[in-house]
């Protein structure tokens, strides 16, 4: 919901504007941040799942390791029906999109191939 709009807002990040505060309030209502996850950790993308797989191959190793850790920690908490203490919840400013740009790039490459093959 918030990801593409957030990219656009980054260009003119006005922390006091009403729009920004509204987005932050919506973000703070989500459950995944209480488990310490970021927005890109929960991308499933049913029909584009191979794109996610390819994008995961491309991100740097540190990012991949951090993602796996966050997911495992979140799964543990989910199983125990607990959440992280409030200090460790993901903050709106820290939720940088690291995977979505790569997914978009992969999909663009596939589209290009389809265009070349169809012409």
């Amino acid at each position: 919901m918030a990801a593409p709009a957030r990219q656009a807002a980054k260009q003119a990040l006005d922390k006091n504007s009403l729009l920004y505060k509204f987005k932050k309030w919506c973000y703070n209502k989500s459950y995944f941040r209480e488990l310490g996850l970021r927005r890109d950790d929960i991308i499933m993308e049913g029909v584009h799942a191979p794109a996610v797989k390819e994008a995961l191959r491309r991100i740097p190793k540190e990012e991949l390791d951090a993602r796996n850790f966050r997911i495992m920690r979140a799964q543990q908490h989910s199983m125990m029906k607990t959440v992280l203490p409030k200090e460790e919840w993901t903050q709106y400013e820290d939720d940088v999109s690291y995977l979505q740009p790569h997914i978009d790039e992969v999909i663009r490459e596939w589209e290009e191939k389809k265009q070349w093959d169809s012409a």
Binding site: E109, E112, K113
Partner: protein, 458 residues
């Protein structure tokens, strides 16, 4: 629209009027307008442009970078080999698929060839597609983007760098020549054209980007073409943006001499012996080539023993009757060269072959050659040159070298005249000079019986 035939004529007329702009001398127009004309120009953005205009309907284009394997350091061995492979990687405006399909659509493809001094990105297109193709080549050479996953893919994928190295291992003769250069020059020209095994998996984007930014920079990048109009090429080259030159200190190649051998077993032995030879800038270059043909470059008739014209083969045939292959070897670079011979023989016979070849080699160098030998060799040299220049790829490589390293371009016709001017005295003088340098030797294949250099050339 001027056809291909009339265009060179129109060119020569324009050349006489453009006196201040063109750096090349305006040529007097000759009787036929199909004679090729050469032009060279250095542009303000650091690009060099060289052209040989012919009436060919197919243009051969290349972007040449003075970035060959001689510029590698001990920390990034094999990065030039990696760059040859990475010609397929994406650039700022084109993806991997885009490069391949765009060039295929023009009826062409891009070949990346690397020598010790230069890397060539070559392509052959029809004349009307020259502009688009040069844009693709421009992307490949000045707008590379080395993404981490692409760089590591090239090193792990079985049809990229590992394939090249596997093929290299099947060619002991090539390995022998590489080792010969390494023994003779150590670093600079001694760096191998092929990446060492231990560097596979270790190339990272920063290292490669650093190498590219240093060596694909202004003054080291040239756009050359055979069969293309010079003004068109100049205009296309002025759109290039070579990386800003950081001013790399030029490391001069120095001939040391030495011995290296690598025993990989097998039935055959591959041996190379060389002395310090003339460089491309040396006036001894052509006399040395004539001397090479006196000594012999292998059989000129298929399946013959080659003893009629080759002094080396004659000497070896007297001492051994098993199959052997002995040929004089020359290698010339911008500031160094090799002059020697290579020998391939079954492992049981290699000692006899190498000893007799080395003795004969030394005899010819110290005692000199006769007039009849020299005149025969000059004819053979001219014939070999003619046949080689029939191949446009070789012509293109030669043009690239000239554009990067010299102020003017000479056509093949002019070279034939220079060969005619070589005298026997020149050849004998060169022979004595070469004999005075320290010998180098390399051996691969089954080196068990190969004698050492100090026992064959005392």
């Amino acid at each position: 629209m001027a056809t291909g035939l009339t265009r060179p004529l129109a060119r020569s007329l324009k050349g006489r009027m453009f006196s201040a702009a063109a750096q090349a001398e305006a040529r007097a127009s000759t009787s036929t307008d199909t004679e090729p004309k050469c032009y060279i120009k250095k542009l303000n953005n650091g690009m060099l442009v060289g052209t040989i205009e012919t009436a060919s309907p197919v243009s051969r284009l290349a972007v040449v970078a003075n970035a060959g394997s001689r510029f590698e350091s001990a920390e990034n061995l094999g990065v030039a080999h990696f760059l040859r492979q990475s010609a397929r990687l994406r650039t700022e405006n084109l993806s991997q698929l885009g490069i391949a399909r765009a060039s295929l659509q023009l009826g062409s493809d891009v070949t990346c060839v690397g020598t010790r001094e230069n890397i060539y990105y070559k392509s052959n297109v029809t004349r009307n597609c020259v502009g688009t193709m040069v844009e693709i080549l421009q992307e490949l050479t000045t707008r590379q983007v080395f993404k981490p996953w692409e760089v590591s893919d090239l090193q792990t994928s079985p049809d990229a760098l590992p394939l090249d190295l596997a093929l290299h291992k099947t060619q002991p003769f090539v390995q022998c020549v590489e080792l010969l250069h390494s023994a003779a020059f150590r670093d600079t020209l001694g760096r191998s054209l092929y990446a060492p095994d231990h560097m596979i998996g270790k190339y990272n984007p920063e290292q490669i980007a650093q190498y590219v930014k240093t060596y694909f920079s202004a003054g080291r990048l040239a756009l050359v073409g055979v069969g293309v109009c010079h003004e068109e090429l100049e205009e296309l080259a002025s759109n290039f943006e070579p990386y800003g030159s950081a001013g790399v200190p030029a490391e001069k190649a120095f001939y040391h001499g030495g011995e290296v051998r690598e025993n990989i077993g097998g039935d055959l032995s591959y041996v190379g012996v060389a002395f310090g030879g003339p460089s491309q800038a040396d006036k001894d270059l052509l006399p040395a080539e004539v001397l090479k043909h006196v000594l012999g470059v292998g059989p000129h008739i298929k399946y013959s023993a080659g003893t009629a014209t080759s002094q080396l083969a004659k000497a070896v045939a007297q001492s051994c009757d098993h199959p052997f292959a002995v040929s004089c070897l020359t290698a010339n670079y911008s500031d160094g060269g090799l002059f020697g011979f290579t020998a391939v023989a079954p492992a049981t016979q290699v000692e006899k072959v190498v000893r007799s070849a080395a003795t004969q080699f030394k005899n010819v160098l110290t005692n000199g050659v006769s007039d009849s030998d020299v005149s025969r060799a000059k004819t053979q040299l001219k014939a070999e040159m003619c046949m080689q220049f029939e191949n446009p790829e070789i012509l293109l490589s030669w043009l690239g070298e000239q554009t990067l390293h010299s102020d003017q371009i000479i056509t093949p016709d002019e070279i034939y005249k220079l060969v005619d001017n070589v005298t026997t005295a020149d050849v004998n003088a060169v022979a004595k000079k070469i004999a005075n340098s320290k010998p180098s030797m390399a051996a691969t294949g089954n080196t068990g019986n190969v004698p050492y250099v100090d026992s064959i050339l005392s």
